[in-house]
């Protein structure tokens, strides 16, 4: 059984006409240890679907089930800081903090029990290909690829079962894109994570196990 299941999911904006859905009757299932791509044209509702999966929005129809539990009945803040890691195209890191502080903040929020948070953060940075030297830099002093690696490290900091990424390589060059995809692949295959990537990149689609098209 999948860790995440979408049952007849539909979404309509509040002020939209009754029959005007962004999408409806979506039935997807996601399992741990696999990489998924959600593909679609611009305006097809990819990011909206991401927001439903991450609990930032609630579906107007159907259910999003995490580990068999309806997200509507769950504490979504807890869900976001424990069960699912989010990686955005524009990284969404706090620019006032250093790279390591961004990761530690995420650990603090999730209340994950780690003896030495700094050590763990450095370990995570190392796993995404960043050195200790990067850790002390302010976010804006890092390149796009480095920021995206920090974002991935942050999403891993509380060891979630699912990592969802919205166009994670959209702002990156081909070389960096393939490095990031390698990290995701490693996480899915070696760390048993469920990786969901919202994308319109063919390279990403080629790298994943399952593609869902909106």
């Amino acid at each position: 059984m999948g860790i995440l299941k979408l049952e007849n999911v539909g979404y309509r904006y509040k002020d939209a006409p009754k029959d005007k859905y962004v999408f409806k009757n979506i039935n997807y299932e996601f399992e741990q240890g696999k990489m998924y791509a959600i593909k679609g044209k611009s305006g097809s509702g990819k990011t909206t679907l991401l927001s439903l999966i991450t609990g930032l929005e609630k579906c107007t129809e159907g259910k999003v089930l995490y580990d068999g539990k309806d997200l509507k009945k769950m504490n979504l803040d807890r869900y976001r800081n424990t069960d699912i890691g989010i990686v955005f195209q524009s990284y969404n890191l706090l620019p006032g903090l250093t790279a390591i502080e961004n990761i530690i903040l995420s650990m603090d929020v999730s209340k994950v029990k780690v003896k030495n948070k700094k050590e763990k953060a450095l370990e995570l940075m190392k796993s995404v290909g960043l050195s200790e030297e990067h850790s002390k830099r302010k976010i804006l002093k890092l390149s796009g690829g480095e920021q995206q690696r920090i974002a991935i490290a942050r999403s891993l900091s509380y060891n979630p079962k699912i990592i969802i990424a919205d166009e994670p390589t959209g702002n990156l060059d081909k070389e960096t894109e393939s490095e990031i995809l390698k990290i995701f692949k490693h996480l899915a295959k070696d760390e048993n994570k469920c990786i969901i990537i919202v994308t319109h990149s063919q390279n990403v689609c080629d790298a994943v196990d399952v593609i869902y098209e909106l």
Partner: protein, 512 residues
């Protein structure tokens, strides 16, 4: 816990913004400390003043009511005095009856009478009027040729007899005076207790030789220094006083001699008004009344009220117990309030200033925070996407402001502590100056040339408050903390509302 840590870190990271907020809070804190210290100290001063000065009620003639019975014109004056004499006097029994009221803490009285002396004259409300006495006399004159004797027989010389009527009007003055007037030369005041001797408690009179009477029923007395000097009387001597009607004499042992310290601006009389005043116990006067029930006495009661809120109730009670409408109950409340007027004005000013400062600063902080929240919208979005709840995020923003507020309130309280006393005294000084200027103006209107010796009513002499020792105490600190919390909550409203309204995805999309 991470919320607190994040708040501290955020304050350090955003120094510029927090220094600006801090300066505003510092100004608010310092001014609030000063105004709170002044307000609370003024409050305590007024409260202590009211507690240390009893509310005294006295009974006096209601002249407005009296004037309704009086008729105008010179001819009616005698009738008016007669009508005045008809009004029942307040007796000692009445006073004792009123004194049983539960609205009272205590009551006392003094009975004034007068005994004779051959030396000094006194002022009295006597009425002198003219009386006309008409007397007509008739005289007869005869004129004719012979002698002086008028011829009565027939055929004699004719004589003329003339009758003259002469009217002589004699005008004299008669004095008519109220039966209530003390006609003797010496005023003998019999006090029921030491409390009743307000002139002594207020320091107007002071025993300078010997001591005050201790037995209120013994024929002991205290006399004025002027009377003592004039008559070469010493403490321990016995003086003889005489009932002006029955001529009975009474021996009084002089226990003490007092001096009148009241300001004298009388350039007419040789002696002070208190020169003939002899002080004794009220029971002594009652003994005199027992000997002669026609002895004229005036009884002046003073009722010590529980507080100023029971004045109306007490007045109603004494009216229901039979006090005539020709009498009115007066109190020293106005005088007490006027003594603390300046400080009350300073208190009002401080309160107004505090309220205005708080309103303005709350608005300024609210605006700064609204701008702040707009700047930190992205931060809110990131926090929300990584799973920080709205409540915790709000708490973090409130805590940031609260930490700055607490630090600045502390510094402000220290600054305010040093400023409170001098600022308070400057304000009070200005208020007293302005009050004096307005009183001088009133005094000038009375042709008094700005001398500050005019008193407008009141039962006892009360010293006004002219110094304020504004102190920053626990109450001020507690109120200051309250203000800090209030301002923090008010100015955090912007962040509270924004965090509830913001959709993290929208924020992040906007940013992208």
């Amino acid at each position: 816990m991470y919320i607190l840590k994040n708040s501290f870190l955020s304050i350090i990271r955003n120094k510029g913004r927090n220094i600006l907020i801090g300066i505003i809070i510092l100004v608010i804190a310092a001014s609030s400390t000063v105004t709170l210290a002044i307000r609370n100290t003024a409050n305590n001063l007024v409260k202590n003043y009211e507690e240390s000065h009893d509310i005294i009620a006295s009974i006096a003639f209601n002249r407005q009511e009296l004037s309704h019975n009086f008729e105008g014109g010179e001819d009616a004056r005698k009738e008016n005095i007669e009508a005045f004499n008809e009004i029942e006097q307040i007796t000692l029994e009445d006073i004792k009856k009123y004194g049983e009221s539960s609205y009272l803490k205590d009551y006392y009285y003094y009975i004034a009478t007068s005994l004779n002396s051959d030396t000094l004259s006194k002022a009295s409300d006597s009425y002198e009027y003219e009386v006309e006495d008409k007397k007509t006399t008739t005289s007869t004159t005869t004129s004719g040729p012979s002698g002086n004797m008028p011829p009565m027989g027939k055929g004699g010389n004719r004589q003329m007899v003339t009758r003259n009527n002469t009217t002589v009007i004699t005008k004299s003055k008669e004095t008519f005076q109220s039966s209530r007037n003390l006609t003797g030369d010496f005023e003998l005041d019999g006090y029921s207790s030491y409390d009743a001797m307000t002139d002594f408690t207020n320091g107007i009179y002071k025993v300078t030789d010997g001591e005050m009477i201790s037995d209120f029923s013994a024929f002991e007395c205290v006399i004025s220094s002027e009377l003592a000097t004039l008559n070469k009387v010493k403490v321990g001597d016995t003086i003889k006083l005489k009932n002006p009607t029955t001529k009975d004499t009474y021996d009084f042992v002089v226990k003490g001699i007092y001096e009148d310290n009241s300001e004298q601006d009388d350039a007419v009389n040789m002696y002070s008004p208190s020169a003939n005043k002899i002080i004794t116990g009220s029971e002594v006067i009652q003994k005199l009344i027992k000997d002669d029930d026609t002895l004229v006495t005036n009884t002046t009661p003073s009722f010590v009220l529980q507080n100023k809120d029971v004045i109306e109730e007490f007045t109603e009670e004494v009216k229901s117990k039979g006090l005539s409408d020709y009498y009115t109950v007066n109190t020293n409340v106005d005088e007490l309030e006027s003594a603390t007027q300046s400080i009350s004005n300073v208190k009002t000013f401080a309160t107004m200033f505090l309220v205005i400062t708080l309103i303005i600063s709350a608005i300024v902080l609210l605006v700064i925070n609204m701008i702040n929240i707009r700047e930190r919208k992205y931060e809110i979005g990131v926090y929300r996407t990584i799973g920080v709840s709205k409540f915790k995020l709000t708490m973090q923003f409130v805590l940031e402001l609260l930490i700055v507020a607490i630090i600045m309130l502390g510094i402000g309280a220290v600054c305010g502590t040093f400023l409170a006393k001098p600022v308070g005294n400057i304000l009070l000084e200005n208020e007293i100056e302005s009050s004096k200027a307005s009183q001088e103006e009133i005094s000038n209107n009375f042709g008094k040339g700005g001398r500050m010796d005019m008193k407008f009513g009141g039962v006892v002499n009360i010293q006004p408050v002219d110094k304020i020792e504004a102190v920053v105490d626990f109450t001020v600190i507690a109120e200051l903390v309250g203000i800090g919390v209030f301002l923090t909550v008010i100015s955090s409203l912007a962040s509270m509302i924004s965090i509830q309204r913001f959709s993290p995805l929208t924020i992040l999309k906007e940013r992208s």
